[in-house]
């Protein structure tokens, strides 16, 4: 039987030496703070939520360590939750579409403006971010409510009041208002890189304005459209602030349900909330992957 090598100083050094000489060691050292942060504040909480989604809720809001798929079953069968999904998805879709329709011409206008005006216009698009989003949403409440700006103006010119607050429309207004810059900026970036001579070439070849847009400009700005759409869709679907303040009890989105399950419900139901969050995350990820595959071109 061969004698095992005694752990000498030379043996130990060779391991450290190996690490030092490996070019990847430096890379891992650089990445480790970021990875550690991601692990601690992203991966770990996510795993906790996944874990909770399989647990059973207790009668006083506590959690019973009994694993089951009951939460998931509830989510896919009870109409309260199913409706919330559809409404949230629908809301996200409509908001995204409105932002697209409004944002594209705006981005185009900014790109075509003279350099001096371009800076000013971009600045105007970004100014809302200097104020707190909650404060801005409250501002909308003031504008839309029955004694607010719009209704005061209507009564002043002799028209009847319109009930704007606590409707789906109000929520849409608030959402579009908040998300529009996230649509404009990627579109602007995409349009900025667009070669407008291509539009001249298209019209030279017989395409009117509409066809030039459809066949040339839109396909080539698809990356911007995709990026903007995703940036608008995802936050919108998870919204609960706007739907709470501007929609009241009448507009119940996923975000609102989640918030209730975790905080306001009596008793709170963390397992169900976790399951809801996981399902939703899954659905969104699939949608986003499909969307990107469909709209952006693979560079060979």
């Amino acid at each position: 039987m061969a004698a095992e090598p005694f752990p000498t100083a030379t043996n130990k050094l060779s391991l450290i030496d190996k690490l030092r000489h490996n070019p990847k060691t430096g890379l891992w050292l650089l990445l480790s703070p970021g990875l550690f942060w991601l692990l601690l504040f992203f991966a770990a909480p996510l795993l906790v939520i996944v874990l909770y989604s399989f647990l059973t809720p207790g009668p006083t809001g506590n959690v019973i360590w009994q694993f089951s798929l009951g939460n998931y079953a509830r989510l896919f069968t009870e109409s309260l939750y199913l409706n919330a999904y559809w409404r949230s998805l629908w809301m996200g879709l409509v908001t995204t579409l409105i932002c697209l329709v409004v944002g594209y011409p705006l981005a185009l206008f900014i790109v075509r403006a003279s350099p001096r005006w371009r800076g000013i216009l971009l600045f105007l698009v970004l100014i809302p971010f200097w104020t707190n989003f909650l404060v801005r949403t409250y501002a909308w409440m003031i504008i839309l409510n029955n004694n607010g700006l719009i209704n005061s103006f209507l009564t002043m010119i002799g028209l009847p009041r319109v009930s704007l607050l606590n409707t789906t429309t109000a929520v849409l207004i608030g959402l579009v208002y908040g998300e529009l810059p996230f649509m404009i900026l990627p579109l602007y970036a995409s349009l900025d890189r667009f070669d407008f001579t291509l539009l001249e070439a298209a019209s030279d070849l017989g395409a009117n304005r509409f066809k030039s847009f459809l066949r040339v400009m839109l396909p080539l700005t698809m990356p911007g459209v995709a990026a903007g759409s995703v940036l608008v869709f995802i936050p919108t679907v998870g919204q609960f602030v706007v739907s709470d303040l501007l929609g009241g009890a009448k507009v119940d989105l996923l975000g609102n349900l989640l918030q209730r399950l975790f905080t306001r419900a009596n008793p709170p139901n963390w397992p169900l909330g976790s399951a809801m969050a996981i399902v939703f995350m899954f659905v969104l990820t699939v949608l986003v992957i499909v969307y990107f595959r469909v709209t952006t071109e693979e560079d060979r």
Partner: protein
């Protein structure tokens, strides 16, 4: 038909704010001819081309295609196609789809599109590249795709905006020959914009020389070169020697001008009036430098010393001086193949400059 006018510009003016880019320009471009607009940057040639294409509308004046006014017709309704300086190929489409674009806009049936695209690609020898993307092609290949994309629509007129500018010298010369050959085969009117006078002279049936928004002269390459009607044209096309002076006499087609080196005579292609400031223009290849004094009675003889010699290989360019008033360029073709230094002009040598009267022109600005 050859004598029909394909494109006519009638007193066209184009203003951009305060700037007058095109200043009362009129020209008549014949059906089937290779017509060039030549001039320095900013002379108005590209703006004129863009107005014919429909990307700009004239501020005043009229543009006619085969006799019909098209000045206000949008570009997509004109039967005119353009080859852009940057080619402007659609990067998200294959070569074949690019070429098919114009036909698709006209709602041509798919079977015919396939056939005509194949023919067009064959004509520019790019049939094997039909499924490539523009970014996978070289500059010269992209240019040919742009050509095919324009010609496949059988336009009445093809407009080319400095299409060879981005190519290297050798490729440019090859493409010049190819373009000219293509135009002769296809028979369509080509309107070509360039700032390269050699290009214009080589390819064109007729040239319009422009400067400052105005057309200075329209003529065949020979007419433009041998009979420039003003100093700018003589200076912009090829090289000229200029001796400034005042017109003292006008005699039909010729004139006399009093300069610092005496009275000189020359032809005048454009009318000059007695007393006006003018220059005597002689092209360097038309002046003669001799070491012996020419025979008595030879006109325009000046004793000179050689200031500088540039050996180009095919010819030698000699700068000679007579006193402080006459500095002349003379170009001699190297017709003999000797390496003997004494056979070539040296700096400091003296000789005699002269030129035949018919080689001189009297021109105003």
């Amino acid at each position: 038909m050859k004598d029909d006018i394909a494109i006519e510009m009638r007193d066209v003016v184009k203003r951009f704010g305060e700037v007058i880019a095109v200043d009362h320009v009129s020209m008549r471009i014949r059906d089937g001819e290779f017509f060039s607009m030549l001039g320095p940057s900013g002379c108005g040639k590209t703006t004129s081309l863009r107005m014919i294409a429909g990307f700009e509308y004239p501020s005043s004046g009229e543009i006619l295609l085969n006799g019909k006014p098209i000045g206000r017709t949008p570009a997509f309704q004109r039967n005119v196609n353009t080859v852009f300086q940057s080619y402007a190929l659609f990067p998200h489409m294959t070569v074949a789809k690019n070429v098919a674009f114009g036909l698709e806009m006209k709602r041509v049936p798919q079977s015919e599109i396939t056939k005509r695209v194949a023919e067009a690609l064959d004509m520019v020898r790019l049939s094997k590249f039909a499924d490539r993307r523009p970014r996978q092609l070289s500059g010269g290949q992209q240019q040919r795709v742009a050509l095919a994309r324009a010609l496949v629509n059988h336009p009445d007129v093809l407009l080319l905006d400095e299409p060879l500018g981005a190519l290297d010298l050798k490729l440019r010369k090859e493409m010049q020959v190819e373009l000219k050959g293509l135009q002769e085969r296809v028979g369509i009117t080509f309107i070509y914009v360039t700032h390269d006078q050699e290009e214009a002279l080589t390819m064109s049936d007729r040239i319009a020389v422009m400067n400052g928004g105005k057309v200075l002269q329209i003529g065949t390459p020979t007419e433009i070169y041998e009979r420039p009607n003003c100093r700018f044209v003589a200076d912009f096309i090829g090289e000229s020697n200029f001796v400034p002076g005042k017109v003292t006499a006008v005699n039909g087609e010729s004139a006399t001008i009093l300069t610092n080196v005496g009275e000189l005579h020359g032809q005048c292609p454009a009318a000059v009036s007695v007393g006006s400031e003018a220059v005597l223009s002689v092209r360097p290849e038309k002046a003669i430098l001799t070491s012996q004094e020419p025979a008595p009675g030879t006109p325009n003889v000046f004793p000179v010393t050689v200031e500088r010699v540039s050996y180009i290989g095919s010819d030698t360019r000699i700068l000679v001086r007579n006193g402080s008033d006459l500095l002349f360029n003379v170009w001699e073709q190297n017709t003999r193949s000797t390496v003997d230094r004494d056979a070539y002009w040296q700096q400091g040598e003296s000789g005699y400059l002269s030129w035949p009267i018919e080689n001189a022109l009297v021109l105003t600005d």
